[in-house]
């Protein structure tokens, strides 16, 4: 069930009514039932996957907690008879068992993810080798990719690791845990929330709050506006261009950079608006996933503001563990004494970042494009890190800090850099991407930007007007957001004003949304991840 569908609206309405009709202590069960119904719509065969992940992580977390409880009991009972050494030994043994349990569940779930998501990618690469050797290629397997598997697997694993790290206690009720894993607003495309973030929202009773529900609906409406009016419209032109690399080269690729940046942001953040809004209706606060990423002044900042929950996941569960593990610290120590303090201090950061970006690339999709995309990001971040002292000197020499023009320059630079990197997404191979991007200055067709060629890519003048207005609106809302919630600001206005604003937005979505027959019913871009 897509967020942009009549059935989802109907589903949401039904769940809403039932949710606020049942007594507070049963409300979370309504959400659990709803989430599984939602999942069933994708196909009953997927259920087994999410249930397997839920059960194994829950059991492992419980086991980890039990081991701890057993240890505490044993130490308490034998407080006097045990020496300090013996206690320590016992603790180490417990830790070892806990680690085994955690590792088992972790590998199992990553294994499932790897098999369903990457088998065909692996086969295609193996086939390439076989072809080279002149053998008979392997057949592809048709494995179903369960809806939102990357998202719910990551959510479950964050919980498992947190329990192992004793940051949180294990949840005793398997059904409550199942709700955390499957909560339907965040099932399709995140956010990748943490157990602690959702716990109180999901399991405590909620009374119907006029303001909260209307805020939730407003957020959903805003998401629809981004997704339907902007993303689904601009994608028509984008697909025309990227689908025909022979015709649309040179300056067109620059247009694609802009189109894709807008489309991806409007689509993905719009979808998240819907998810967060839907959560809010039920009194569940989901973590934000975007913070005006296109206002970032550097790539590093961009990645702290785009797909925030994913970035945080990789930082917490890959970057930190690798950088502070014993071998890495030893390596860092060694390199500092052998390679000098400058490089020495950075070596560990570089290595762990490499791992993070490789993982980020692979997470986004099973193709070389994404691997290269991830590593390109890595490269750019590392280079800008190296250039940091240079920037600093530049900033000191010319007093540009705080200069608006300079800020705009930085923002534009980041936008373009990220835009070109994102092109890996748009073409069918790494080499095509390089060829297309490298060809931008040599196309000799700059005139397409003004000679009306852009009217031939499936978008009409009316479409451009709507897109322009929509993007301007998105921009203004972002500007206003810097000084606090836009919905709160509107809420402070008289009822008539509020009514006009929200009704107008509704009508805009209804009339200018690129939905229904005649428009390609494009899926959320982030569904497949």
């Amino acid at each position: 069930m897509q967020f942009v569908s009549y059935s989802f609206l109907l589903f949401l309405a039904v769940v809403f009514v039932v949710y606020y009709l049942v007594p507070g202590r049963f409300q979370w069960m309504v959400l659990l039932a709803a989430s599984y119904v939602f999942y069933l719509f994708a196909g009953p065969k997927y259920l087994i996957y999410i249930m397997a992940t839920t059960l194994t992580t829950w059991l492992a977390a419980r086991q980890i907690d039990n081991l701890k409880a057993r240890q505490d009991l044993y130490l308490e009972e034998n407080k006097k008879s045990l020496s300090r050494e013996e206690k320590k030994l016992y603790k180490t043994a417990t830790k070892k068992k806990q680690r085994l349990v955690m590792l088992g569940a972790l590998l199992l779930n990553l294994g499932i993810l790897a098999v369903v998501k990457y088998t065909n990618f692996a086969i295609s690469n193996i086939n390439a080798v076989i072809n080279l050797a002149g053998g008979k290629p392997l057949g592809f397997v048709s494995l179903v990719l369960p809806l939102g598997i990357s998202f719910y697997t990551f959510r479950a694993l964050s919980y498992l690791i947190d329990v192992y790290r004793k940051t949180i206690p294990a949840e005793k009720n398997v059904f409550k845990f199942a709700l955390f894993v499957s909560f339907f607003p965040q099932l399709i495309q995140g956010p990748i929330s943490r157990f602690t973030q959702l716990e109180s929202g999901l399991f405590s009773p909620h009374r119907l709050s006029w303001k909260r529900v209307s805020f939730g609906l407003q957020r959903i409406l805003w998401g629809y506006m981004k997704k339907m009016v902007i993303a689904d419209r601009i994608v028509i032109g984008l697909n025309t261009m990227t689908g025909d690399t022979a015709t649309y080269a040179g300056a067109y690729v620059l247009v694609e950079v802009f189109f894709y940046a807008i489309q991806l942001y409007a689509d993905f953040s719009g979808g998240l608006d819907m998810a967060i809004g839907a959560g809010q209706i039920f009194g569940v606060t989901l973590p934000e996933n975007f913070e005006r990423p296109f206002f970032s002044k550097s790539i590093k900042e961009y990645w702290n503001r785009w797909h925030i929950t994913m970035g945080a996941w990789f930082t917490d569960y890959i970057f930190y563990p690798i950088s502070v593990c014993k071998p890495m610290l030893n390596l860092s120590k060694w390199s500092r004494s052998h390679l000098g303090p400058v490089l020495g201090r950075r070596l560990s950061v570089y290595l762990s970042s490499f791992a993070v970006w490789l993982a980020t690339g692979v997470w986004h999709g099973a193709s070389w494009n994404f691997v290269f995309w991830g590593l390109s990001n890595y490269l750019v971040i590392m280079i800008s890190q190296e250039l940091e002292p240079l920037y600093r000197r530049f900033h000191q020499k010319f007093d540009v800090n705080g200069n608006l023009l300079y800020k705009i320059f930085q923002v534009a630079r980041t936008f373009l850099l990220m835009g070109f990197l994102r092109m890996y997404d748009c073409f069918d191979s790494v080499l095509t991407t390089w060829r297309m991007v490298a060809g931008v200055p040599f196309g000799g067709n700059w005139n397409i930007l003004w000679n009306g060629s852009l009217m031939q890519i499936g978008l009409t003048a009316a479409d451009y007007v709507i897109l322009g207005a929509g993007i301007l609106l998105m921009f203004l809302v972002s500007m206003s957001q810097r000084s606090g919630s836009v919905r709160e600001k509107i809420h402070a206005k008289p009822y008539a004003v509020r009514f006009v604003i929200w009704t107008a937005l509704f009508m805009v979505v209804l009339l200018t949304g690129a939905y229904g027959i005649g428009y390609d019913a494009s899926n959320f871009i982030y569904n497949q991840f």
Binding site: T460, Y495, M507, L510, G516, I517
Partner: protein
């Protein structure tokens, strides 16, 4: 006290807001839905049926081979048959079935003619054709069933319930007509007949391409069974008909199947393909090279049909009904006016 005040204020707000939004939506919908009477007229007749008094003794249900080939005026003037054609472009057999069900809700004619050309289609062909057939139907269980039977994969039931969702992007090509005809459309047909006056001789008609399987699909037979059962239930004489045309090809194998079905169910089957008795000349009587008849051809064919109905079914002659006669006088005048207007347009262009 205060709480109550807040409640009522809120109640008032919600009600007023709701009314404002609903009326806006209603007006927008009326504005944005396509106006068949000034556009694709082939979608206008289904709705026009409800404006005619339900006193027909013959109902004809089918696609363009019905609504372009049969002139009800001839049937009335020469045979006293008060007929209405419930036709729509590319009408499918299940749509014919539910249109029959819908019609029987309003009246019980003596006879019903069903066009069986559509037996060859087991699947919906095109969204636009679905719309032309279904949108004109009044809401009833028949319409709901017809919608669900007809929808292509890309369609949604809700877009039939709220056509605004389907036509939301038409704001870009609104015309003056959309405002003028917001609440009432102009009639375009004469008892469901869409007049065509051009002439284009049938030439180079290709032979039918051999098919692997000539058997009509089970789905189609299911609906044909339903039609037969409905007619039996209401005591209506059912006639299966294949209109005269030279293309699309009507295979002998298809003809044989319908013949067999008719015999088995004791219903009449009238195949007019290559029927010389009718007296049609496909050099002059067709406006599109042999697919459909022009008004001259339709009048010739209607005379044949009237004769056949009188002799084969003994359908009553209603010319004695003064009220009907009076109505038809008016319709005849409209018909002639339309005919001369169309001919004028033809010679002008």
């Amino acid at each position: 006290m205060k709480r109550r005040k807040i409640f009522w204020r809120r109640f008032f707000r919600v009600t007023v807001s709701g009314i404002v939004i609903c009326s806006m939506l209603f007006l927008l919908e009326r504005l944005l839905v396509p106006k068949y009477s000034v556009g694709t007229q082939d979608g206008a007749m289904i709705a026009e049926y409800y404006d005619d008094a339900p006193k027909h003794n013959l109902i004809i249900i089918g696609d363009s081979e019905m609504y372009e080939n049969i002139s009800p005026l001839v049937l009335w003037q020469n045979y006293g048959i008060n007929c209405y054609i419930r036709g729509s472009a590319q009408q499918l057999i299940w749509q014919s079935c539910y249109l029959l069900e819908d019609t029987l809700r309003h009246e019980t004619p003596e006879a019903v003619i069903i066009n069986i050309t559509s037996m060859q289609y087991a699947e919906p062909q095109k969204e636009s054709y679905n719309r032309m057939t279904l949108e004109g139907m009044r809401w009833s269980t028949s319409k709901v069933k017809a919608i669900f039977a007809s929808m292509t994969e890309e369609e949604s039931f809700w877009e039939y319930v709220f056509p605004l969702l389907r036509y939301h992007s038409r704001w870009n090509d609104l015309t003056e007509d959309d405002f003028r005809l917001m609440f009432s459309e102009e009639p375009v047909s004469l008892n469901g007949y869409m007049m065509q006056v051009g002439v284009k001789p049938a030439e180079n008609v290709p032979a039918g391409r051999p098919l692997a399987d000539y058997a009509f699909s089970d789905v189609c037979y299911e609906y044909l069974d339903k039609i037969t059962a409905l007619c039996k239930e209401y005591g209506v004489e059912l006639i299966l008909m294949k209109s005269p045309s030279v293309y699309p090809y009507w295979y002998d194998e298809w003809d044989a199947q319908i013949k067999e079905y008719a015999e088995k169910n004791q219903i009449k089957y009238l195949n007019c393909v290559n029927n010389e008795e009718i007296g049609l000349n496909f050099q002059t009587d067709t406006f599109d090279g042999g697919l459909h008849l022009n008004v001259g051809g339709a009048e010739i064919y209607s005379n044949f049909l009237g004769r056949w109905l009188q002799s084969e079914t003994g359908i009553s002659d209603l010319r004695g009904d003064s009220e009907l006669s009076h109505e038809w006088e008016q319709k005849a005048a409209d018909y002639d006016a339309k005919k001369s207007e169309k001919y004028r347009e033809l010679t002008d262009s």
